[in-house]
């Protein structure tokens, strides 16, 4: 209906100030919508990256063994051995699933690990550490170890160990020095400090040690298999679904990070709800604004509508004229608001450079297309009532002879 479009645009351009005001009002609503999207999205991104950016998104772990059972000395050797074998068997099998896990869509990195407890001794000084054996080349697969290195090299080889800053300081160790590590299995190894990291996380920097997977095999007497497999995903939010897929594919007990993170999820959800609430309000404001403006316009144009009806314009034509006005207002306001929103978000630092103390606005999460689409749909819906009332205008009373 090209002709109805012409009449609609003429009506809008005929009262330029009124149309400009209306479009600006819509644009403000869209601006709020976009600002909220960027803020809520950026905030969630910020919180997630701070809390779960460095942890495994999906973890496959052996059934946790009670160490007291392991070291129980009273003639229960068989039972203990069986338990140990069961655990080892499960995880050595798991290791064969690695290529398959890597093939699951959304999986970005897979890190098979052997972890355990141990003591680091240097001279008379002793410190308890939690040891993680990772595959050389995958040191930074889960925790961005390379990014946290302050001295030396992240690369793990046989006979090498990487420690946290605080631990290295406690033991007065520097790069190239040798230390003794005794595992909870009673195996002792002499290792050379090849790197020092600092994550800012106190317990990590003072009690974590990284060795190569083969070193860990010796330390924990595990010629085969691993104790856990950590998996990193491209999308944090896909953890639940991906864990299910991995479980179905391998039969392994894949646990997503969201298990045990209910409070965080609740907080993020509440935040997202607040965002939806505000965005809905912005849309409702737009709808009410457009509806009232068009209703006023139909009232003002009643005689003209009557003339058009008398001249042979059908009800559908009249409806189309007013719905098109609504759609045009929504489109113009939507584009204007989206452009303003984008411009307003430009000065904020990008998502990778969020600084504490500033609003973590994420310009990429402005939902510009969605904002424009919803606005146009909202404006069209808003124009239906005025359009219908226009179509019902009685030409006789409207022309008012």
């Amino acid at each position: 209906m090209l002709y109805a479009l012409k009449i609609a645009t003429r009506y809008l351009t005929a009262s330029k100030a009124q149309t400009a005001l209306l479009v600006t009002g819509v644009a403000v609503g869209v601006f709020i919508f976009i600002f909220m999207s960027a803020l809520i999205g950026g905030l969630a991104e910020f919180i997630l990256s701070r809390t779960v950016g460095d942890i495994s998104h999906i973890t496959i772990e052996a059934e946790t063994d009670d160490p007291s059972v392991l070291i129980s000395p009273e003639g229960h050797v068989l039972v203990v051995a069986e338990r140990v074998r069961t655990r080892t068997a499960t995880l050595s099998e798991a290791a064969t699933w690695l290529p398959q896990i890597e093939g699951v869509p959304g999986v970005r990195a897979v890190s098979p690990q052997i972890s355990g407890a141990g003591f680091v001794t240097r001279g008379a000084q002793v410190a308890q550490v939690s040891v993680t054996g990772v595959e050389p080349g995958r040191e930074s697969a889960i925790l961005d170890l390379a990014g946290y290195m302050v001295e030396g090299d992240v690369r793990l080889g046989s006979g090498l160990i990487v420690l946290g800053r605080d631990l290295a300081d406690d033991l007065a160790l520097s790069i190239g020095r040798t230390l003794r590590l005794e595992s909870s299995n009673g195996v002792t190894a002499a290792l050379t400090l090849s790197g020092i990291f600092k994550t800012g996380n106190g317990s990590m920097d003072s009690a974590r040690a990284f060795v190569s997977l083969s070193t860990a095999r010796t330390l924990y007497a595990m010629p085969q298999g691993v104790t856990r497999i950590e998996i990193k995903l491209g999308d944090l939010n896909a953890a639940d679904a991906t864990a299910l897929r991995i479980r179905a594919l391998t039969g392994l007990d894949a646990v997503p990070w969201t298990d045990g993170a209910e409070q965080l999820m609740e907080a993020l959800n509440a935040q997202a709800q607040t965002g939806y609430f505000l965005k809905t309000f912005a849309l409702i404001t737009i709808v009410i604004g457009v509806a009232s403006a068009l209703l006023l316009s139909t009232y003002r144009r009643r005689p003209e509508i009557g003339i058009m009806r008398a001249m042979g314009a059908g009800r559908g034509f009249v409806i189309f004229v007013f719905v098109t006005q609504g759609a045009l207002i929504g489109l113009m306001g939507g584009i204007m608001g989206a452009a303003l929103g984008y411009l307003a978000l430009l000065p904020f630092p990008s998502r990778d450079a969020f600084e504490p103390g500033t609003l973590p606005m994420d310009i990429t999460q402005g939902s510009y297309g969605l904002a424009i689409t919803l606005t146009v749909i909202g404006a069209i819906l808003a124009s239906i009532l005025p359009a219908r009332s226009a179509a019902r205008v009685d030409p006789v009373t409207a022309i008012g002879q």
């Binding site: 012409k6 003209e304 058009m308 009806r309 008398a310 008012g400 002879q401």
Partner: protein, 225 residues
Amino acid sequence: MSALLEVTDLFKTYGTGEAATRVLRGLSLRLDTGEMAALLGPSGSGKSTLLTILGTLMKPTSGSYVMLGEDMISADDRALTEFRNAHIGFVFQFHNLLPDFTALENVIFPTAVREGRETPAARARGRDLLSRMGLADRIEFPSANLSGGQKQRVAVARALMNSPELVLADEPTGNLDRDSANQVMDLIGQINREEGTAFLISTHDEKIAGFCRRQIVVGDGVVTG
């Protein structure tokens, strides 16, 4: 002369009960093709009511109405809208033009709304009609800026746009000065003679009625002469 339209035993009552106004009370009338008729009667006699019914903008309370062989009483809104567009032109006393459109855009509206767009052919005919109405220099003028007489001439041009068989004019010169009124009536008479378009023009001005060959007088809800 063949019958253009025929209404028989028309009744029209506005409102109900105490407030009921019985305007038409068994009015019958026949118009032939190419007629030039004046509709006379005092104010409140029901001239506008009759024109509105003949223009299919309103249905009578009872009675029959046949135009060009079609039953106008039983037709639905869509059919009547199309019928009006093709066969009936209107000139009203007030509120005639779309103020945000030019003279030409107003004139070609009946064709454009039917075809869904403004065609070059429609524009050419619109220009031609405006020139015949003596408005060659006002073609692209915003209609809101035209004088009263010019507006009514644009309205006549628009009424003729789709070459209707009948043009209904309700006091078209009612708020024009004598010269403008005469000019409009001259043009209407000229179109009637040249194109054979039938006109039914309501007025309570005897001089205006003098431009018409036939005089129809309404009173007490019927045709009295």
